[in-house]
């Protein structure tokens, strides 16, 4: 049983990954009101693609420094995920933009199944372990330990999120995105190319998903074709928790969910006298999701709305 501080550290690390993925959900939802079910699969493909590149570079034995190898993995994974996101938007979502709400949700499930099975054909069913080329240093303080990898994950996530906030609030593209998310048709009348903005949202989301995929596979040391589903679901929960469509909400929701999971899994055994163990960790995300949707469907930071259709 680790101490409170330890759970806190683990929770924040996990939470920053959730937050990155949640941003992808929330941006797309904010603009076109679609739950992009296949977003989690982008995380998975990002992780597996980066892993293949890293493994290949290590095998080539060029003696490159670890940072360069990681960067190479990311530089392959990010464009790949962005390409997939654009294709997905173009083929499966754009034709359905005026359709009843259930239709794009079902195509999103279809896309998710397709990506998963393509990944299974390419990378196989087995688990891939992340090559141990990063020298992880562990720092001890106050009875808890923190690795430099954890620090790196949290720092990189923070930088990316700050960058995203800057783009959304300080650039013309961000202005157009905010306008489109408020009212797509009026933004179009003001000369905003809505299709371009939607594609931009998918692209940014996909890039963040790829980074999150690399982070999570490096952190847990493992990647497999099925990892995207649960991660995506949790990230979606985080987005809903914070208030879907709200960028700050996704970040807050991600961190909170990470903390809830880490603390919940750490303490559930003690709280229930050992009846429930940490194997119920995955239940927390769903309980939080259900509770939030019932009590406050617009999330913590979202606008108060009485009716969400």
């Amino acid at each position: 049983m680790d101490g409170f501080l330890q759970q806190l550290i683990n929770g924040i690390t996990l939470g920053s990954v959730y937050a990155l993925v949640a941003l992808g959900y929330t941006m797309v939802y904010g603009i076109i009101g679609l739950i992009n079910f296949a977003h989690g699969e982008l995380v998975m493909i990002g992780a597996l693609a980066a892993l293949s590149v890293i493994a290949a570079l290590l095998k080539a034995g060029l003696g490159l420094p670890p940072v360069v190898i990681m960067a190479a993995g990311l530089l392959v994974a990010m464009p790949l995920c962005m390409l997939l996101a654009v294709v997905m938007e173009r083929v499966a979502y754009r034709p359905l933009r005026g359709a009843p709400r259930l239709a794009p949700l079902i195509t999103a499930i279809g896309v998710s199944i397709i990506l998963q099975n393509i990944a299974m054909m390419v990378w196989g069913r087995s688990y891939f372990s992340f090559p141990a080329f990063l020298k992880v240093t562990t720092y001890e303080f106050a009875g808890a330990s923190i690795t430099d990898m954890q620090i790196g994950i949290v720092a990189l996530a923070a930088v990316l999120m700050a960058g995203l906030l800057w783009v959304v609030h300080r650039t013309r593209l961000g202005l157009a995105m905010r306008a489109t998310s408020q009212n797509l048709s009026v933004a179009a009348l003001m000369g905003v190319d809505a299709n371009r903005i939607i594609v931009a949202a998918f692209l940014i989301g996909a890039a963040l998903a790829a980074v999150a995929g690399v982070m999570v596979s490096a952190y847990y040391g493992i990647a497999h074709y099925y990892m995207g589903f649960m991660l995506g679901l949790k990230a979606f929960t985080a987005a809903v928790l914070g208030g879907i469509g709200h960028l700050g909400g996704a970040m807050l929701g991600g961190l909170l969910l990470g903390l809830i999971e880490a603390l919940g899994a750490g303490y559930i055994g003690d709280l229930t006298g050992g009846v429930f163990g940490s194997n119920y960790q995955d239940v927390f995300a769903f309980l939080v999701l259900i509770a939030v949707l019932i009590v406050r469907p617009s999330g913590l930071l979202g606008p108060k709305e009485t009716d969400r259709a």
């Binding site: 739950i35 083929v91 499966a92 754009r94 034709p95 359905l96 933009r97 005026g98 359709a99 009843p100 709400r101 259930l102 239709a103 794009p104 949700l105 079902i106 195509t107 499930i109 279809g110 896309v111 998710s112 199944i113 397709i114 998963q116 099975n117 393509i118 299974m120 054909m121 797509l184 048709s185 179009a188 809505a194 299709n195 589903f229 679901l233 979606f236 929960t237 809903v240 050992g274 009846v275 429930f276 163990g277 194997n279 119920y280 995955d282 239940v283 995300a285 769903f286 309980l287 999701l289 259900i290 949707l293 019932i294 469907p297 969400r308 259709a309």
Partner: protein
């Protein structure tokens, strides 16, 4: 309803269909017992799809955790009729038990989610389905209820007195296998569910569901008790799932949480959507098509690959799922009403064309 008079030709048609349904297992058995099993499985999926159709098709509530009710029914049956607890109750207790417990779970899911609509409801039901599966996976300690990931074994088959439906035997000189015997109660129950669904659709309740699907606020304004009617949709849909689950447990003789993953929910939903949401013949078509698809693929893809490349390059299971995913996307884009939509739905889609957000 005005009294209808049926002609002799009508009754002849009914008699022919009945005879065909009665003889079907024997015809299939001549080809191979596998096909009898496939038909039985298809019947189970027809039940499931019709149950889900009540929730999704009639009432318009997207449920992505539907398989949880199938699981609950299966576990209810298994716990009451297996050596796990040493209980061996007869089928007329266990099957209704699955039915009732599943209906209760339907209300349990429905009650807190009444206010949610559309994609939010979809996500909550998905979470509910996962929660049920996680509990089934872990409720083997400290008290062993579900036996965890190992699942429950040696579940009793359907038995009438001492006459088990699972055994092969020779009746009046005809070899009758277990699956062939199971076919008859399955078909009977499926027909009963079909009739019930047809009657429901045109009843006061069915029209209320449809009203909620089209516009919940307007439906409430018309005096429909939307809360009760929605709960009823959840309970009825779930109960059919529970019944199918009980039958599944009895046929398989073994169940484990693995059979009740999200993919199964998606599969049943695909049947409803591909066939034609809210249209009973369409849903049946969807269920039959998608259940036979893997068999067809198994008999075509593997030999085709062997002929072309000399070995099996791509796993038929992956191909099946790929076809699934593609079918979901393509049908939604090309035929948003499904393969066999109801006449009303077809008209609506035609009218709706060109409205909504600006086209790309």
């Amino acid at each position: 309803m005005p009294e209808r008079r049926y002609s002799a030709r009508h009754w002849l048609g009914v008699a022919l269909i009945a005879a065909a349904l009665l003889l079907l297992p024997f015809a299939l058995a001549a080809v191979g017992q596998t096909w009898v099993r496939v038909v039985n499985l298809a019947l189970l999926y027809v039940m499931l799809a019709l149950g889900l159709n009540i929730v999704v098709g009639f009432a318009g509530l997207l449920d992505l955790g539907y398989i949880a009710f199938y699981a609950v029914g299966a576990y209810a049956y298994a716990l009451l009729a297996s050596p796990h607890f040493g209980l061996h109750l007869p089928f007329w207790v266990t099957l209704p038990a699955g039915f009732v417990v599943a209906a209760l779970f339907g209300v349990l899911l429905g009650a807190p989610t009444l206010k949610l609509r559309g994609d939010y409801l979809a996500i909550v039901t998905l979470g509910f389905g996962e929660i049920i599966r996680i509990f089934m996976n872990n409720l083997n300690a400290p008290v062993n209820i579900t036996n965890g990931p190992q699942g429950i074994n040696l579940i009793d088959p359907l038995k009438i007195g001492d006459w088990s439906l699972a055994k092969n035997e020779v009746i009046a000189g005809l070899a009758v296998s277990g699956p062939m015997k199971y076919y008859y109660p399955l078909m009977l129950l499926t027909l009963a569910i079909i009739v019930l669904n047809l009657r429901l659709q045109n009843s006061r309740i069915g029209r209320a569901w449809e009203a909620i699907r089209e516009d919940e606020i307007a439906a409430r304004a018309m005096g429909i008790n939307t809360r009760n009617i929605k709960l009823l949709a959840f309970a009825m849909g779930a109960s059919f799932g529970g019944l199918a689950g009980g039958l599944f447990a009895s046929i398989q003789g073994f169940i484990s949480p693995e059979s009740f993953g999200l993919m199964e929910s998606v599969m049943v939903l695909s049947m409803v959507v591909l066939g034609g949401m809210g249209h009973i013949p369409g849903v049946i078509l969807g269920a039959v098509l998608l259940t036979s698809l893997p068999e067809v693929i198994r008999f075509t893809v593997v030999p085709a690959q062997q002929a072309l490349f000399g070995k099996v390059l791509v796993d038929p299971e992956a191909i099946r799922m790929l076809v699934f995913g593609l079918a979901l996307v393509l049908v939604m884009i090309l035929r948003p009403g499904g393969l066999w939509p109801s006449a009303v739905r077809k008209r609506e889609l035609a009218e709706r064309h060109g409205q909504g957000l600006p086209a790309p």
